[in-house]
Subunit: 203 residues, 2 copies
DNA sequence: GAGTCCAGCTTACCCGGAGTAGGTTACTTG
DNA sequence: CAAGTAACCTACTCCGGGTAAGCTGGACTC
């Protein structure tokens, strides 16, 4: 970040990445509504119309950020699941990867969860919902292998339960210093495996 | 709603209720960001400064609506739980009451869940979070009676898991015609009781 | 029934931030 | 070097949250 670097022209792809980086940071920190496009532009060392040129609208920028963050998350969990030998192991690895992600990429996670409800336009909402859907589909696939006799509707319900539990749990545990990602994953795993009365297995 | 009725002066409490009713309806329908204060004022047959007089800001109005809706929900679930003979029954009754509420009071529910993330001001966020906290506390109490040997931290995690699962599940199932509130409650009950492999008990 | 008080109400404005029209600059390519 | 175009800018419009300042009608006193 040399001073001479700061006002150089950039090719579109690079500028887009920069804009999304800046946006992700301050959207996650202060919330979508509290951030102005002028501020984002200024921090990029560029004027406002450039952002509109590349992202169309403030909502468009947020959607792009959320989709990118979701893609990262999906990539992490998918990779973790891919290396597993059994279905149970896949589930556990997926959970650990998820909580690790929410712990190490707090900005991205806060961006996704705290701002997706700030969207108003139906198209934007649909696009974000579509990005979230990947998560649900992965869980359905896992459950389908885990309990093959259940009908699709029940698998879908199980997946929704899991996704909701993951989200709330991670929102809660980022403020708790004494709980680790692995513990959260274990807790959830134990509930899924044998209900609330089940013991937490050793890490 | 006679024509002569429409422009009468109202005492503050009554006007506040009317404003919150109007706001709840259109916030839930179109989302916080897409609704203007002028529109709310017009629908109330009153001018904008009146709303500011009573609620301070647009956020203040939303917070008031969310808190009222949360209070309704809390009342329903608490009443349902109160009449139970065993802890297990309390849990089941609470779940059924919850899903019934989200099904029959869709406006209130949509208001709470879809708009709480639209808040930007820290005080507003804290107030809403406080309202949600009641739900978590109830669940902790139930789990504490259910699995008395577990430490507080684990009970808290279980409660977060349950709340998250309830929220996601209800968000999903309001769009599904073939799933009833009772089925959703049963599904969740079965998972909590014996994990994902457990059968759904007969209604 | 004239005076006064104040809760409920209004008009008319400010201002910040989303979004845009139209023009300028510098890099590439023949 | 001329031409073309991708990156960029200045200078606006307009909408919506929020406010200042004043009006009104009914309740309550004397």
């Amino acid at each position: 970040m040399t001073t001479s670097e700061r006002k150089r022209r950039m090719p579109r792809a690079e500028r887009e990445r920069q804009m999304m980086g800046v946006a992700e940071e301050i959207f996650a920190e202060r919330g979508y509504a509290a951030v102005s496009m002028d501020e984002i532009a200024e921090r990029c060392g560029v004027s406002k119309p450039m952002i509109y040129e590349y992202f169309g609208s403030k909502e468009g920028l947020l959607v792009a950020c959320i989709r990118a963050a979701r893609a990262d998350l999906s990539k992490c969990t998918l990779e973790a699941v891919a290396g597993a030998g059994s279905v149970e192991e896949a589930l556990r690895r997926g959970l650990v990867a998820f909580f690790d992600f929410t712990d190490t990429h707090r900005r991205s996670w806060s961006l996704m969860l705290r701002n997706e409800a700030a969207l108003a336009g139906p198209v934007a909402i649909a696009e974000v919902e579509e990005a979230r859907r990947e998560q649900v589909e992965l869980d359905i696939t896992l459950f389908a292998a885990f309990v093959p006799d259940k009908p699709r509707t029940e698998l879908e319900m199980l997946a929704q339960i899991l996704v909701g539990a993951c989200e709330r749990l991670s929102l809660w545990y980022v403020n708790q210093s004494e709980v680790t990602a692995a513990q959260a994953a274990d807790m959830l795993m134990s509930v899924l495996w044998s209900g609330v009365a089940g013991d937490i297995p050793p890490g």
